[in-house]
């Protein structure tokens, strides 16, 4: 039995089943609210959901049973001495490598830290106070800290991705930060404005756990790989139908294997050619192979959002993604074949495998 947490524009759906058959809806929580992201902390079995009411604002909720009652965390909120800023959206909740420590990335771009398994939250002030912040520009979805890459076994080493303020790296658990901009090309800026630009629109970033100095990134217009923990980046988009997209999965067992779901372009954010395909590299980005067996093959113009693609960590790797059409798809064989997990949910914002 696989359990999926599917965040949507209209609540959280807890789906349970096996690939090959439609999953059942075990629960729907937060009806009417946007669930930007939901995940389970495997260390504590605690579930988290970032929930944004269109009226009553954003919040982190937590529960030990996603089909039961949820508690509201205290925060993340900006402290009194930052009076002009309020949390708008909570993009990601990420367990750290330290007991009890959980991170949250929010808009406007800020990192919050909990040391009590997500019940209370505190702003990481060193990132908030980096001198270039005044020059940061939001992407289409706001100034979003959406990617938090921990380092297996080393709680001090972090890399975060911000749209549109690039990559930030810490080696002291967030006490100090430096940029990881080298090699990223902001093709959406005039050529004479690219050198030294801070407006680097990272769409998604994940670390390869078996080789943690390696990171993959979906950028606004290309796909990149870093082999030096995010310091420098190499373009690996050749062979993809488009360099534009949002979802990204890295195979936890194979640092050469990663998956993306390209969209046509920033001006046309749907699957290219009306075909739903997932692209995999098995050689760290040198070549790409398309997977589409069982996915809509024609007249299908889907949009898959940033957090709406995940894996189950298994072998063979299970993969799941959801579209803003409300359809969720799954593969039990590392993308070789796919089937529909559920149809006609609300527009999907996030998918995470929770069990």
């Amino acid at each position: 039995m696989t359990e999926l947490l599917v965040g949507t524009k209209k609540g959280l759906f807890v789906l349970r089943g096996e690939v090959g058959e439609p999953f059942e809806i075990a629960a729907r929580a937060f009806p009417g609210d946007v669930v930007e992201f939901a995940t389970r902390d495997p260390r504590t079995d605690r579930y988290f959901a970032s929930v944004t009411s269109g009226f009553f604002g954003p919040r982190v909720m937590y529960s030990d049973d996603p089909t039961g009652e949820w508690e509201q965390a205290k925060g993340p909120v900006f402290p009194e001495d930052i009076p002009d800023v309020a949390v708008e959206r909570i993009w990601i909740v990420k367990p750290s490598e330290s007991d009890g420590v959980v991170y949250a990335g929010v808009a406007p771009a800020a990192l919050f830290v909990s040391t009590d398994s997500g019940e209370t939250w505190e702003l990481n002030r060193s990132l908030w106070n980096v001198p270039t912040r005044a020059e940061w520009q939001p992407g289409f979805g706001g100034l979003a800290l959406h990617s938090i890459c921990t380092w297996p076994g080393d709680p001090g080493r972090l890399a975060i991705g911000i749209s549109a303020a690039g990559v930030w790296i810490s080696e002291d658990a967030g006490d100090t930060w430096r940029t990881g901009y080298t090699g990223l090309v902001p093709g959406y800026l005039p050529e004479d404005q690219r050198e030294g630009a801070h407006t680097l629109c990272v769409h998604n970033m994940h670390r390869a756990p078996r080789r943690p100095e390696r990171l993959f990134m979906q950028f606004h217009g290309s796909v990149y790989r870093s082999d030096d923990a995010g310091e420098t980046w190499n373009d690996i988009a050749e062979g993809l139908p488009s360099g534009f997209g949002f979802p990204l999965v890295v195979d936890p067992a194979d640092p050469d294997s990663a998956y993306v779901i390209p969209l046509t372009a920033d001006t046309d954010r749907v699957t290219p050619d009306g075909r739903m395909r997932v692209y995999q590299t098995r050689d760290a980005g040198a070549t790409w192979t398309s997977h589409g067996d069982g996915l809509p093959a024609s007249e299908s113009y889907l949009t898959i959002l940033r957090q709406a693609f995940d894996h189950d960590g298994g072998s063979p790797l299970g993969l799941y993604f959801g579209a803003t059409s409300g359809d969720v798809f799954g593969s039990a064989d590392a993308g070789g074949s796919w089937s529909t997990v559920h149809e006609r949910l609300a527009p999907v914002t996030s998918v995470r495998v929770s069990g």
Binding site: T52, F56, P83
Partner: protein, 89 residues
């Protein structure tokens, strides 16, 4: 004491009460007292800096007010979701 009227989902987070008597001489003061009495409402009507959320309307005796709007004793305050809210559909 002002009488604060709440609807779902705010009412649900105030132990199911649709009317709550609260002290305070301004909307901000009354709503902060509402959060104190019902902590599960913290952050729902006011943001972290005490501002009324953009898509929430607060009326005092029929007039839309802001945080510093005076509240007379026995005033009736309605806290309502704005028709401008609801987020992306």
């Amino acid at each position: 004491m002002a009488v604060v009227t709440l609807r779902a989902p705010l009412k649900d987070r105030a132990d199911g009460r649709s009317e709550v008597d609260l002290p305070g001489d301004s909307i901000g003061a009354v709503l902060r007292e509402l959060e104190r009495v019902y902590p599960r409402l913290e952050g729902w009507v006011l943001d972290e800096h005490g501002r009324i959320r953009r898509h929430v309307n607060v009326f005092v005796d029929g007039e839309r007010g802001r945080e510093d709007t005076p509240v007379a004793p026995q005033a009736r305050i309605h806290v309502l979701a704005s028709i401008s809210g609801g987020g992306p559909s």
